[in-house]
């Protein structure tokens, strides 16, 4: 197995007096494709905020690349594609190339401008997600699925080792969801570690190599095949309500 990229030890988190996460333990290793599932309000987004260092755990310890998360400064090694990427201002006048260039902002640091090498990286990232012909198109003119590819390119351009995606396929039609997962699969093959929050358990179990099921506490952590073989009662128990698991068989 590869190096540990994310390590959570006995992590708990409270919003005021409300407990959002309790005693979470799990690891993400290099090359993993982790699917993070669980009911709404189960703490998935909170967990991601903790990993990104946007919130501090109330108890426990999180390390990123073996460094405590609050001290971790090399943010460009982590790419982030948010849920909100779907609800940005669609009229915003920015070309695909300009949006992808944003991914280099933090890595470059203040007062530095894009070099030729950076521009090459931007071009390459756009090609990698198969959107080269739209490079100079306004982002608002693209479809939801295409926009989501551009946001992946924005995450890729800083050459991250870990990409975190928070429900990236919300509002994307079924056919494009499939293509989107194919793209993630490609990236994963290039040894990029992926952490994906999703509702689409069926598609997830096909692509991921580990599933984490979260509802305030960690209910399941293991291989997709053992997640699929859970009984309906067990799943309903984890989710706190009955759940129909849709599986895609090919």
């Amino acid at each position: 197995m590869g190096n540990t990229i994310v390590n959570m030890k006995n992590v708990s988190f409270h919003y005021g007096s409300r407990q959002a996460l309790s005693n979470i333990n799990f690891q993400i290793k290099q090359g993993d494709f982790t699917g993070l599932v669980g009911p709404n309000g189960g703490g998935k987004t909170t967990l991601i905020k903790l990993i990104l260092g946007l919130e501090k755990p109330t108890a426990g310890e999180i390390t990123i690349f073996d460094t405590p998360v609050q001290k971790y400064k090399q943010k460009s090694k982590i790419g982030y594609v948010s849920q909100k990427a779907n609800s940005f201002n669609r009229g915003f006048p920015a070309t695909v190339a300009e949006v992808v260039a944003m991914g280099l902002t933090a890595k470059l640091g203040y007062f530095k401008r894009l070099s030729k090498e950076d521009k090459r990286k931007i071009k390459q990232a756009i090609e990698q997600v198969g959107m080269a012909e739209y490079t100079h198109e306004n982002i608002g003119n693209l479809s939801g699925g295409q926009q989501q590819r551009i946001f992946i390119a924005r995450a890729l351009v800083s050459e991250p080792e870990l990409i975190i995606l928070d429900e990236p396929t919300v509002g994307v039609d079924a056919e494009n969801v499939e293509k989107f997962f194919d793209l993630l699969h490609e990236l994963n093959k290039q040894n990029i570690t992926l952490l994906l929050v999703t509702h689409d358990i069926g598609t997830m179990t096909q692509h991921a190599n580990q599933i984490v099921c979260l509802n305030k506490t960690l209910h399941f952590h293991g291989k997709p095949s053992s997640f699929q073989s859970l009984s309906k009662e067990q799943l309903s128990d984890y989710y706190g309500h009955p759940l129909n698991l849709v599986t895609h068989q090919h």
Partner: protein
Amino acid sequence: MLANFLEYEFLRNTFFTGIIIGIIAPLLGTFVVVRRLSLLADALSHVTLAGIAFGLLMEKKTGSPFFTPFYSGVGFSVIGSVLIERLRSVYKAFQELSIPIILSAGVGLSVIFISLANGFNTDLYNYLFGSVSAVSRQDLYSIIIIAVIVCVVIFLFYKELFLLSFDEEHANVTGIHGKAIHFIFILLKALVIAASIRIVGVLLVSSLMTLPVAASIRIAKGFKQTIIYAIIYGETAVILGLISGYYLEIPPGGTIVMLLIILLILTIISKNVTNRLKERKHRANNEVIE
């Protein structure tokens, strides 16, 4: 027509000021518009009016050179922009509430200062609607300094300001100091408003920041192009507006803004026409294929 503008010093000052604000107002305006803060510029301009009224009052009462209307206008504008940000975080669910609160506070203060000074007549009229003859050499120097600050800061923080405008959450995730950058941005906004008021007046200053962008956004591809087209629109309207305002004896605020409105309407119409032509061509091509 330009000869007069270059011959007399007061007109020359106005002309150079016009050229400068024709650049910096749309430049900053692009960031203001895409962040959906257009109306905040309006609120700020009214606070600036209160500052100007305060400066006029102090000038009249004390004769002190430290209280010129220009400097107190800049001061009030900066304080107003800080207060707007505070209010926006107090009313998170009703962020637009900060606009009427600050706007009415600005107008209220202005009325009080104006009546304390028993009215200012022409001076105040010039501040409300702009003037071709109101720019002193001192004002021009201050405006040049403001323009240099605005351009340098935007050049240095371009990529951070751009990211922050597009996606504030992502900016914070990547570890950019969003709050500090945003603060710098609102200070710039206050400075640009104070600089522009001499020529276009309090009531119309926000239009010089927003209308060129409204036109440019219709036709531009990408952010940089939006800025460039906005500056071209702004500059065209300012130069033609100043000249026509002078010859028609109308405050330039009125002529500049109406020119911008005309440019905006022409842009919208021509964009619609070209879109329709494209569609027709597309349809014709499809029919040929079928």
